[in-house]
């Protein structure tokens, strides 16, 4: 059983990613496709999330941002999935149970502020770095000029906290560029370490590589919405004016084909 936390700044698409993950069985069955991975929601919260994916994402709306309620970290949604993996024709099927906590982006961003020590932030750090957490899925979304500096600040502080909790050698980090359907990023998905992180977030990449054991660090590209078709790489999303500038909705639900949702989770869950 692997405990995995999903963290990342505001609007990096954490909840939408998890919702797509819960909805994947329905999406696959509609398209009649099968592949090496199968994922099933296991608890009520992940099943509710699959319903929300259908009612909200498929209907052309967007999720609201995750906020910390009065109950602190314990009140945050906790999703449980069964991941079934079959790689190769004669390989045995692996069954992996994943438990994933979805944290609000604002707590993640606060890591950069070293002097800040509110209770929720402390709870968040404690829970992220607890001994039974196998790995962190870190979602980044911005790549424009200036963001590297901010992500670098957050990650150097996060590494310090890992060190304090003696987790630098035994916590896996899957560092992900999300929303890769965007035209500027889509071609970089093949080799995200070089073409996304190396080009757009070089300082962030370097600090991670310098501090984390290479076997515990990988860079990924993922896209929850995907592109319209393999021969039509236009993003399957529409940006509209909304909170914090703009929000994205699914453009053509019938063409919905997420990219690389499970690979990073699978890698994190492997011992």
């Amino acid at each position: 059983m692997g405990n995995i936390v999903v963290i990342g700044p505001r609007l990096s698409g954490k909840t939408t990613y998890l919702a797509a993950l819960s909805y994947l069985p329905a999406l696959r069955s509609q398209k009649g496709k099968d592949n090496n991975f199968k994922i099933q929601p296991l608890n009520d919260e992940s099943r509710d999330l699959a319903e929300s994916a259908e009612n909200i994402l498929v209907e052309g709306a967007t999720f609201e941002s995750t906020k910390i309620a009065e109950g602190g970290v314990d009140s945050l949604p906790y999703y449980s999935f069964q991941l079934q993996v079959k790689k190769g024709l004669f390989k045995k099927i692996e069954n992996i149970q994943l438990n994933v906590r979805d944290y609000p982006g604002e707590v993640f961003e606060k890591i950069a502020d070293r002097n800040l020590s509110d209770e929720i932030h402390q709870e968040f750090i404690d829970e992220c770095l607890m001994a039974d957490v196998r790995g962190c899925l870190i979602l980044f979304t911005h790549w424009e000029h200036g963001t590297d500096k901010f992500y670098y600040k957050v990650m150097s502080q996060f590494i310090k906290l890992m060190d304090e909790k003696q987790r630098t050698q035994n916590l896996k980090l899957a560092v992900v560029m999300s929303k890769c359907e965007r035209g500027e990023l889509w071609p970089g998905r093949i080799d995200p370490e070089t073409d996304l992180f190396g080009i757009h977030l070089p300082r962030t990449k370097t600090i991670l590589q310098d501090s984390i054991n290479p076997k515990n660090l990988r860079f990924y590209a993922l896209s929850t919405f995907g592109v319209l078709h393999k021969n039509d790489p236009r993003p399957n999303r529409i940006d509209q004016a909304g909170s914090n500038g703009s929000e994205s909705v699914l453009r053509e639900p019938n063409s919905w084909q997420p990219y690389n949702l499970i690979e990073p989770l699978y890698w994190l869950s492997k011992v």
Binding site: E54, N55, V58, A61, A241, P253
Partner: protein
């Protein structure tokens, strides 16, 4: 928690809520309380119109159990319908009735969704109606700016704000708009993004700058746009169907 209706005097809030409870429904059904009960409470049979909400009862607090039919099946929104008297938005009323005003602010801050019911403005209303009965576009924009300030300063944590431009029968072809905007599970002509864009572009253009200001100043707020009328069930149900996707448990 719950959903709250607010709006200016005579914007049609009470009638909108009463009609929502009408058993002749499509995909949104008020399960409790009963239509006849709500009608006896809000409708004046002699005058053939809704009773004005009394100012001394700044807020009508009424449990409302609404069932909405979403693509994944039926869901219930257990909420409190709070209808407010138009008077409470006047500064002198707020000063004179400070404790009631504070009580109302608490309720609105705790609510998950706000339906702000707006009347049409003079230039929008078809000329077969008496346009003099409606405020001018400029007055309408000024009034909306006061709403923006109210949300920014008095409830900066709201998540869902639904702007309902009411009395749509006075300014558009109801059936035509309902055909475009209407909701049919899994077979709708438009999705939420398209509906929203259509209504926003077509009916809310005078307040686009204020909407941008609102989006910029309240983080995490989602503002959506609707046209509503008691004479068209499809349009009347849309805000609830939208809210149902988010609020129903």
């Amino acid at each position: 928690m719950g959903v709250i209706y607010i709006g200016d005097r005579a914007a049609g809030k009470t009638h909108l809520a009463l009609e929502l409870a009408n058993p002749q429904s499509h995909y949104v059904k008020v399960i409790a309380p009963d239509y006849q009960y709500i009608k006896s409470l809000l409708y004046d049979e002699n005058l053939q119109k809704t009773k004005p909400t009394e100012a001394f009862k700044s807020v009508y607090d009424q449990y409302l159990n609404v069932r909405v039919q979403l693509p994944t099946g039926n869901k219930e929104i257990n909420s409190y319908w709070l209808d407010t008297a138009g008077e409470i938005w006047r500064k002198n009323w707020q000063t004179e009735n400070n404790s009631q005003w504070q009580e109302f602010l608490t309720k609105i801050r705790e609510s998950e969704g706000i339906l702000l019911v707006l009347p049409p403005y003079r230039q929008l209303v078809h000329d077969q109606f008496n346009r003099e009965d409606f405020i001018t576009q400029q007055q309408w924009c000024n009034r909306f700016q006061r709403w923006v300030d109210f949300f920014r300063y008095d409830c900066p944590k709201i998540r869902h704000l639904l702007l309902c431009l009411n009395k749509a029968d006075l300014f558009c072809n109801l059936q035509q708009e309902a055909n475009i905007l209407g909701y049919i599970p899994n077979r709708s002509h438009f999705n939420w993004q398209q509906r929203n864009q259509y209504v926003y572009d077509r009916y809310f253009s005078p307040i686009h700058p204020q909407i941008r200001e609102l989006n910029k100043s309240i983080s995490g707020l989602s503002v959506k746009f609707f046209i509503t009328s008691i004479y068209n069930r499809s349009l009347l149900e849309l805000p609830w169907l939208y809210l149902g996707s988010f609020l129903s448990k």
